[in-house]
Symmetry: C2
Subunit: 429 residues, 2 copies
């Protein structure tokens, strides 16, 4: 094509402002990299009366149609977040022949298939690098750089809020409520932190990563989710003592004929694992392929400029294709229809912390409950008294999740067991 490359941006929040800043700051290099001028024409804002000195020289509107129906705009960047009207706007932009770029994990996780189909129908590109891992390149590497591999495993620290909280709990021995308040004060956690701490944000990213890694559609409802709300200072302390760190992971694992399993939950990671050193709000995606072996991608998983780094890279990729006259190399890559392996069929070691009556025979009763469930134990330590109860920490050998669930049910029914405080998966090296 010969015309100009003109961008319309839907949304002027943190990421929208970052995209404008990065494009302006690095415009000289970006024009060199594209081979043609590029400009932002219009930004959709919620409140036209608000002063926005950072958007000087750009047309502001509160009507999406001013972008969606503007024939001069050929790239629409959706940075509003949420499902609607973001989805409708993206579909409308595609129907108008505009390329679409988004950072919106919610929409991609739930409507990726529809967006790809619409993009293909209207011969436009659809890109979403920023939807997982913020600035970290992971979508393009998976779709273009790791194509020689069968991916068998992805384990990602993909939520900065919870990683910050777990890091602070480990560094300071603080309890959950305390670090949550601290994270909220620093702006790392929202007033309503549910989406982060309950693992839903990570689940959306897990669905996206799983879909791409295994070339099969993984829907949000396919992802089993457990957050960090149950993690206590005691769990962190035992993890440290045993040589582990606790991380909230998005896991996508291939179980062969049984299918693929995608889940989010806390994990005891050996402190020597590459992911164990990923601290604070940093994210990292670790993966295993049958050619590359183990690899990891590390960086800032959120924030205005890092997220804009991914969005603007997508803009540049689309613009380069426009200049050269190329078609998108990769559209939807879900060419398989793999079964979903149920959580019960997955395997792991488990850490279990219990409060039990402090009397003879208790350990025997517990050991019997594990034995009756066919769960063999690697270690059992009775560590301290919590009020009148003895605290017991057990670590199992690798067992199927369903056996662990059976053991849990038996333990819960034992009169000597006061409480099962926590059960957390343990990743062995």
């Amino acid at each position: 094509m010969n015309g100009k490359i003109v961008i319309g941006i839907l949304g002027s929040g943190t990421v929208g402002s970052g995209v404008v800043e990065v494009l302006r700051e690095n415009m000289g290099d970006i024009v060199q990299r594209i081979g043609r001028d590029i400009s932002i024409k219009t930004v959709l804002v919620r409140d036209l009366s608000k002063k926005r000195s950072n958007l000087d020289g750009i047309k502001l509107t509160d009507k999406a149609e001013d972008i969606l129906n503007d024939p001069e705009i050929n790239i629409v960047v959706e940075l509003m977040g949420g499902l609607n009207p973001a989805l409708d706007y993206m579909l409308a932009a595609m129907e108008q022949g505009k390329h679409v770029i988004t950072a919106n994990k919610d929409v991609v996780a739930q409507f990726g298939e529809k967006l790809f189909a619409t993009a293909e129908k209207h011969h436009v590109e659809f890109k979403f690098e920023a939807s997982v891992g913020g600035g970290i390149p992971i979508i393009t590497p998976l779709k273009q750089c790791l194509t020689a591999n069968k991916i068998s495993l992805i384990m990602g620290i993909v939520n900065g809020t919870t990683n910050y909280m777990l890091t602070k709990m480990a560094e300071n021995g603080s309890d959950y409520d305390e670090v949550l308040k601290e994270a909220q004060a620093k702006g790392y956690a929202e007033a309503n932190p549910a989406a982060d701490v309950e693992g839903l944000d990570a689940a959306r990213k897990a669905a996206i990563l799983g879909s791409i890694a295994f070339n099969t559609r993984v829907k949000l409802e396919d992802v089993s989710v457990e957050g960090i709300t149950g993690i206590k200072a005691a769990d962190i302390a035992y993890a440290t003592e045993l040589g582990y760190v606790i991380k909230l992971l998005a896991v996508a694992k291939d179980y062969g004929d049984q299918g693929v399993n995608v889940r989010v939950h806390p994990v005891f990671l050996p402190s020597s694992h590459p992911l164990a050193t990923v601290k604070d709000v940093f994210n990292a995606i670790f993966l295993r392929g049958n050619a590359i072996g183990d690899a990891m991608f590390y960086g800032q998983g959120a924030g205005s400029l890092p997220t804009a780094s991914a969005v603007v890279a997508d803009i540049i990729a689309v613009a380069r294709d426009m200049v050269i006259g190329n078609t998108a190399v990769t559209g939807c890559t879900c060419y398989n229809d793999r079964p979903k392996c149920p959580l019960n069929a997955t395997e792991s070691s488990y850490y279990i912390r219990l409060l039990v009556d402090d009397e003879p025979g208790v350990l025997g009763a517990i050991a019997t409950a594990f034995g009756d469930s066919d769960v063999s134990l690697k270690s059992v330590i009775q560590t301290r008294m919590v009020k009148e109860y003895a605290e017991i920490v057990a670590v199992t050998h690798v067992v199927k999740h369903e056996k662990l669930e059976k053991a849990k049910a038996l333990l819960q029914n034992l009169p000597v067991v006061s409480k099962i405080c926590n059960i957390i998966r343990v990743e062995e090296e």
Copy 2:
């Protein structure tokens, strides 16, 4: 294009065999990802009489012309290594209208410009992801995923041999000669280890990374190189004591108007730095961009299958373009002509280990030498006796390299200084 995608491979060593294995093992997925069949027709071998059961069904030849002049072959993969005849074969293939993929860092570092120009002239693609970092995707991420950034710094552990040796020295307290023998026994170091331990392998990768990161041609002769042959067990022990690990780094840094500096040398890295946990033969490339902030790419930097992962990804990328009818998105990206910042103008903290006479006034004389060079010291520790000499370890504040060189010259001329054992840069957080 409508025809078949047919590969010819120059070289049947470790990487060549890996490429055949990966293509065969994952062919089902690879064909899905390309959208068309792909096959290996011919492999150039050195000795036709050698049995190669892993190449069954592939035509073997000892004449490069059988590949370069075969009109059916449209992708030539160069995996011979060395400058010649690899370079000539690649140029000849391009002149015949064939796309070229290589893992050859020597040729890319020295003749990248010529290869790109020839590829452009003949409208073919030229790719070399495997030339740096083995399986780790870094060339494509730099050229396509980090394009929104001005990169200011790259620090890479890009040589597995030396990283293995430094890891073992730190873990076991062994001395250099001992771990070199161990590395040779394990096949991690060659009989003549010079290219690895003297930093030349890393220097070639540094030149490639610097050229791409700063969009300016960095030649091998622009890279200042210092290897690990001078690292003693004592240096490792002091590093550990001070909270650092020693790593051999390829560094490419932007000094603004002074230009860019690309170098290879050992560095004291804080043990909390993401690169510090990269052990054994693993590689990692850490970088800093003005949008993304800090990021790191980690994985296996060598070996048959990991390197093949990168080569086959390049094959798939070229094949996809052929199927769609796309042109290469990125050719040569050296659109700038940046000056080269001399080593003397770079800045760092430095660790200095000296043997001095054990007598009054020595510390004062040493402090004066540093003072006269305008080098201020952060700490000086006199630690132990080595035979009749006292060992002194000094760490400087950040100073220009030329001042450090002046201090070194003054120290060398001090009668009380018996020996400057080592000077190593210290990376502060």
